[in-house]
C-alpha cells in the first residue's frame, strides 16, 4: 500500500462506518428504515452549546436589492428640495410620518421597529451587500458567516427534513452580490438557492428505483465522501457531502414547495406578483420549521426615474409586508418570527437630472417587526435634508447584533474557525437596547 492510502484508512472509523452500513442493510429486509442520523453523523458534530439553542425561532429577510430609497419609504423629508414629490402620511405611532406610498404599513407602525439612522459607509453594491448580510466585511484571511447561515445553524432542528436556509432571488441583477458563506459554521448551513421558480428541480424519486435502493445508494455515497474528506478538510469538499445529505430530507418535504397547497384566498391576499408569492412561500416555510428564508426583491437601483420606480415598487412592498405581518399574527407566529427589510444601502437625498437618486450609505433606513423587537420604536434621526445622521448612528454590526439578540442569541458568543475563537459580531459591537423588547 502506498503511504497515501493509509491516510484514508483509519481502521476504527471505517469499521464504524461499515457496521453502520451493514446494520442499515440488514434492517432493510425487516422493512424499517433507519434514519440517516447514525454514527456517521459523528463526522458533522461540531460541539454546539445546547444551552443556548432556542428552538422554534425564525427569520425572514426581505432583501431589497439595489438599495431602496429611505426618502420614499421610512424617512421622508416633506417640503425639502431633497424630499421628492411624494407626500407623507401619519402613522399609528403619534408624531411619526412615513411616505404616502406605504399606507398599509402606516396603519401598522405601532408593531414596527424602524431604524432611520443607518450609516454604513459603503456605497458599492457587492461590498455593501456582503457587509449588510454579515454585519461586517469579509477579510482576506477570514470569511464570516452571513445571517442566514447563523440562524440556520442555531435553529435548525436536528432531524429536520426541511432546509435550514432558503434563498429566493429570481431576478438576475445583483444576484451574485448575495453569495452566502457559512464560513466556519460549516458547509451544511449554505442556503438552498431557488432562483428559478419556487421549487427545487428533481425533487421526486424516479419510479425506476425503489426507496430502499435510493437510500442505500445515498449511504454508500456518504461513506465514500467521508473517506475522501478525512484528510481534505476544506469548505468546498465538505459542502459536497452536505449537499447530498440534504436530499432525502428535501424529497420528503416536496409538498412544502408547492404553493398551490396554500388556499387560493391566501394566495390572492398576497397578490399575483413574484415578490408576493415568494413572501407567502417564506411564511409557509417558516411555518414548517425552516429557520431562515431570504426573499430577494431586486432591483431598486433607481439612478434614473427614482420616483417612477418607487411609485411602482413601494406599494408592492407596503402590501406584501402588511400581508405578511397580518398573516403571521393570525397564525400566532409573530412572537417567534423576526421579519426584517433592508438592502445594501439607501439613496441620495440629492436628485439627479434623470430624476434619479444614486447610492447613499450615510443616512438610511431599515425596518423590522416580530420576535424580540420593541414595537412602535423609531430609532435615530437624520437631518432635515436626510444628508447625515443627526442622532444615534447605527452601523451594520449594530443592526446585525440587534437581530441576533432579538431572536435570543448572544452576539458575543464565540465559534471556532480552526483554533481561532470568533464571536458573531466584532468586538465592541452591541445590540441596541431601545430596539429590543
Amino acid at each position: 500500500m502506498n503511504p497515501e492510502s493509509t491516510q484514508f484508512c483509519r481502521p476504527n472509523e471505517h469499521d464504524i462506518s461499515r457496521r453502520a452500513f451493514l446494520a442499515h442493510s440488514l434492517a432493510v429486509g425487516s422493512g424499517t428504515l433507519i434514519g440517516t442520523s447514525g454514527a456517521v453523523h459523528a463526522l458533522d458534530e461540531d460541539g454546539l452549546n445546547a444551552a443556548l439553542r432556542h428552538s422554534g425561532k425564525s427569520v425572514i429577510l426581505l432583501w431589497l436589492a439595489g438599495g431602496s430609497s429611505q426618502l420614499e419609504t421610512w424617512d421622508p423629508k416633506p417640503g425639502r428640495l431633497t424630499g421628492g414629490p411624494f407626500l407623507t402620511i401619519p402613522t399609528s405611532v403619534p408624531g411619526v410620518h412615513i411616505s404616502e406610498l406605504m399606507p398599509k404599513m402606516a396603519k401598522r407602525m405601532h408593531k414596527m421597529t424602524v431604524i432611520r439612522s443607518l450609516d454604513t459607509k459603503d456605497g458599492g453594491h457587492g461590498t455593501a451587500a456582503e457587509t449588510m448580510l454579515r454585519g461586517r466585511k469579509n477579510e482576506a484571511a477570514q470569511l464570516y458567516p452571513d445571517l442566514g447561515s447563523i440562524i440556520a445553524k442555531e435553529f435548525e432542528r436536528r432531524d429536520s427534513k426541511v432546509p435550514g436556509y432558503v434563498s429566493f432571488y429570481s431576478q438576475t441583477e445583483g444576484r451574485r452580490n448575495t453569495g452566502a458563506t457559512p464560513a466556519f459554521l460549516g458547509a451544511r448551513y449554505a442556503p438552498m438557492i431557488l432562483n428559478d421558480g419556487m421549487k427545487p428541480a428533481n425533487i421526486s424519486r424516479l419510479e425506476s428505483i425503489t426507496e430502499v435502493d435510493h437510500r442505500d445508494r445515498a449511504e454508500l455515497h456518504k461513506l465514500l465522501s467521508a473517506r475522501f474528506a478525512r484528510s481534505r478538510d476544506t469548505e468546498t469538499v465538505k459542502s459536497h457531502a452536505s449537499a447530498y445529505a440534504k436530499v432525502h430530507g428535501l424529497m420528503s418535504s416536496e409538498s412544502l414547495f408547492d404553493i398551490t397547497q396554500e388556499p387560493k384566498w391566501v394566495r390572492d391576499q398576497y397578490g399575483p406578483g413574484q415578490f408576493a408569492q415568494q413572501t407567502l412561500m417564506a411564511r409557509r416555510m417558516v411555518e414548517s420549521g425552516v429557520p431562515f428564508v431570504r426573499v430577494g426583491r431586486a432591483w431598486w437601483d433607481s439612478h434614473g426615474q427614482n420616483f417612477e420606480t418607487h411609485a411602482e415598487m413601494v406599494p408592492e412592498l407596503d402590501h406584501v409586508m402588511a400581508t405578511l405581518m397580518d398573516d403571521l399574527e393570525q397564525r400566532g407566529m409573530l412572537d417567534s418570527t423576526l421579519v426584517c427589510a433592508f438592502g445594501e444601502f439607501g439613496r441620495t437625498p440629492k436628485i439627479n437630472a434623470s430624476l434619479g437618486r444614486d447610492h447613499f450609505a450615510s443616512a438610511w433606513s431599515a425596518a423590522m417587526f416580530g420576535c424580540g423587537l420593541q414595537p412602535g420604536a423609531v430609532y435615530g434621526k437624520t437631518d432635515e435634508d436626510g444628508m447625515t445622521v443627526a442622532e444615534n448612528p447605527v452601523g451594520p454590526g449594530e443592526l446585525f447584533a440587534t437581530i441576533l439578540k432579538a431572536v435570543g442569541l448572544e452576539p458575543e458568543k464565540e465559534y471556532y474557525s480552526g483554533s481561532r475563537p470568533i464571536p458573531l459580531v466584532n468586538p465592541g459591537i452591541h445590540p441596541i437596547p431601545d430596539l429590543l423588547s
Binding site: P85, L87, S170, G271, Q274, E308, A353, S354, L355
Partner: protein, 335 residues
Amino acid sequence: MNLKITEQKRVSRPDIAFCLIREEGTRRVFFGSSDAKIHTLDLTDEKPEDGAFESDQGHQSYITGLAMARPGVLVSGSYDRQLAWWDCKKRSLIRKLPAHEKWIRKVVSSPNGKLIASVADDMVCRLWNSTTGELHAELSGHAPITPHDFPSMLYTCAFSPDGQVLATADKTGQIVIWDIASKKQITTLEAPIMYTWDPRARRHSIGGIRSLAFSPDGKSLAVGGMGKVGNIDHLGGQARIEVFNWEKQESIAAIETGSVKGLIQCLAFHPDGNWLLGCGGDGKGCAVLIDPAKWEIAVELQTQYHIHDFLLNESSDEIFAAGHQSIGTLGIEAV
C-alpha cells in the same frame, strides 16, 4: 431643412422646473417647481430676479402642470392632487380644489381657453371650467394596472388645434383619443415600445409616453417617450417619437435619435407644420428637430440640462425651456 438649434441663455437654480407658461408678447415666464411654488422670471433681464408665488394655502409638492386659464390667471397642478388658480399680477391664490386621487402629471388649457384638462395617476383625465373651476367631465379609459400587475401612470394630454379632440397617454404606451363634445372615447393607439418592462433582470418598468402634440392640421398625432432600454436603472434608451394618423389608427413614422438618449418630455409642431420639435433628455438634455416631409431627424442636439417643458415664441424661432436646475432659452435658425 437647414436649421440649427443653439443654447442661449441659461439661468441656474437649485430646484427643478417641470412646466412653463409665458406671458404673451413678453419674455416673462412662469414655471412650476419642485419646491412646490410657482416662480416667475423676466428673461429680458441680464440676471433675472426670481419672483415666487407665496401662499400658506399653496401646493405641498412638485408642480407638474401649468396652464393659462385666461390672461392673467394661471392654473397649476401638483403631486398634491390639487389644482390651484392664481392671479399672475398679484401672485396670489384665487382658489384651490382637490382634483384627483393621485399625483397630477400635466395641466393644459383648451385652445379656446374655456376648459382646463388635468391628468393624474388615478388614470383619469378631468376637464374643468377654466373660469369657475367646476368639473366639466371625467374621461376614464386607461387601465389603472399595467399588464404586469403594477400601478400605472397617466403622464400627458394634449388638445387638437381646433379643440374638439383630446389625446391622453399613459405608462404602458396606450393613447386614447376623446371627443370633447360628447366626452367619449373616439379611438385608441398603441406605442408599446415606449414602455419597457424587464421581467428578468430587474423586474420593474421604465418609460411611458411623456408627451403629445397634434399637427397644425389636426390629422397627425406625435407621441414622445423613450425607446427600448436594456438597463432600466437609467434613461439609457434612444429618445423616441412616433407619429400617427390618428383617425385611421395608422402609424406614419417611428423615429429614434442617434446619439442623444432619454425621454422626449415635450413636443410641439411649428404652427405651419414646418417641423416638429421634441425636448427632454437623460442625465443631460436633448432637443430634436424633425422634418415632417420625410419624418427624419434634421437636428439632434445634446443640451446642458434635461428639459421638462418648453414653449415657442410667436415667431417660432425661440424656445423657452424649463428643466433640471435651469430655465433657459434656445434659438432655432437657418444654417
